[in-house]
Symmetry: C2
Subunit: 315 residues, 2 copies
């Protein structure tokens, strides 16, 4: 009997202020976003993707990205990163002083057209153009619908690897395997992740977890077994998939953090502060998808002993 | 790179009509229970725990167990089993023609007193007394709070193994590792399950999954890797834990079945019929905790090819 192959430490990147809020139809007041970010800054993250630099017609709730980036508190040593969909966003993020951006591109052409209004080859060219600008900003790439696309189904592994190969040639050193629609299954996540890690030793792969079909945490477990230690999660489970409007959102940060704690996997996160931030986020948008908020803390850490005590209630 | 150690086939025992309904405070009309069972009988289960023989003061919603067992349709070859908490329930179940019962007992003394009003040693004695009756009825044992108790915390493995040792000596051949409060974590589930399977080769262990803290499917994944292929799940995710009243219930059968299908693990279950039964169950009790009902089917099976097509939308 061997034990599960699990890491000692895992890094959760908080994406709630970006991926969680971008789907909200009601504009989240800027001051609420700032409070949310500030609460999250206290939780112990190394990295938080706190906004997106994207055209406000495309994502109205990210229209205040410059103001938010100016007004949030910055915890020393913590990275405050942003998402961008194109070169304009990249330039705007750099102008706002962002030091790390995630460029999003799609694994499938249909999703690329639908979500980004360009082909995947255009996205790859855009990434190279951004790199060629020589700006002092780290560029990572999130590959949307890696595990399944609402239009085209499941990408074959060869398709994913061909895209990653292009990114590798451009010396992109962090690539996100994004389960955008939450249709990944654990076997697929393990398979894709382990093969990519084997094929591209210079790239750090992170798994972007959604919980649309309830598979988020199982997928995280499979990804960890494959060697992934970087995950995108969202406070209060905010976020979601526009093709499954009533479904669960992103995987809730506090649910993952709490489970990992019980698995003796270090995250550096403070569960109580996560719950505080989660409550604020949930109140702000008026909903949540957090098992921790529903059920409370898993506070059953005390161990009871091996001896069956007789309390002599009967006999 | 190795693949995850996963089984080819898994058996889900449906426990919704028992564990799902027993927690409902409003009495579920008998005819609704019968329709629910009949819909579930069409789904492809080998075994359904459809009721409990328990004092109606303790579990009012199971007061019609005899009538339900008389009136449901019986699919040839399918087992219709029941839960019992004590010898009286065992005798009543046998009198009602039940051929397989699960005797529930607790892994901790506090939960035993709270839930069954007896010590664990009393439960073990009861099991032997039931066996000594020589009735034509298969007796399996579900060990509640195996992974964590609301009163005593996490049982040590030695405590679980000492109870299973007693059951083994009584020639009990099926033992349930029940995550009654939904506080198990995947590492613990793997650890307990694999060690028990190693220690007791004559016993088939099954995992009774709850989703209180969102960990249900991840725990199932870990249990499968440990060698467990039998799981208790509940249609529509009905059920729950009285100590976490707002939390999710048991793990939803249709969510597990759908995920396993995508993992190429056979269950023999018909997803569409599960969804039909789930909708009926959810309408009957007025709530559900089913990702499948929220998000719809994971119908993204079509694979898209490795070649990045140019659709020439741009350029």
């Amino acid at each position: 009997m061997e034990s599960l192959n699990l890491p000692k430490k895992v890094f959760l990147k908080e994406v709630g202020p970006r991926d969680g809020l971008q789907i909200e139809k009601v504009f989240t007041p800027t001051n609420k976003k700032i409070i949310m970010c500030n609460l999250l800054s206290e939780c112990g993250f190394d990295d938080m993707q706190f906004t997106a630099f994207v055209h406000p017609k495309a994502v109205p709730n990210m229209a205040d990205s410059v103001e938010v980036s100016q007004k949030i508190m910055r915890k020393p040593g913590m990275m405050y990163s942003a998402l961008v969909p194109n070169k304009r966003g990249y330039i705007n993020a750099a102008a706002a002083g962002i030091k790390k951006v995630e460029m999003t591109m799609s694994a499938t052409e249909s999703h690329s057209i639908s979500n980004l209004n360009c082909n995947t080859s255009d996205s790859l060219r855009t990434i190279q153009e951004c790199l060629d600008l020589g700006l002092d900003i780290k560029l990572i790439v999130g590959l949307a619908v890696t595990f399944g696309c609402p239009f085209e189904g499941r990408p074959k592994f060869e398709r994913i690897t061909s895209i990653v190969n292009e990114l590798n040639a451009m010396e992109i050193r962090e690539v996100g395997l994004c389960d955008t629609s939450g249709v990944a299954d654990p076997r697929q996540v393990y398979d894709f992740s382990s093969r990519l890690i084997d094929s591209f030793p210079d790239i750090t792969f992170y798994f972007h977890a959604h919980n649309t079909h309830g598979t988020g945490l199982a997928n995280v477990l499979a990804a960890m077994q494959a060697g992934i230690i970087n995950f995108d999660t969202s406070i209060a489970g905010l976020g979601g998939c526009p093709y499954a409007p009533g479904a669960s959102g992103n995987l809730a940060t506090e649910d993952v953090a709490q489970t990992l704690k019980y698995m003796d996997i270090e995250t550096g996160l403070d569960i109580d502060k996560l719950i505080e931030a989660s409550k604020f986020a949930a109140e702000t948008v008026g909903h949540h998808d957090s098992a921790t908020l529903r059920a409370g803390k898993m506070n059953h850490l005390v161990e009871c002993g091996p001896v069956m005590q007789k309390n002599n209630r009967k006999n």
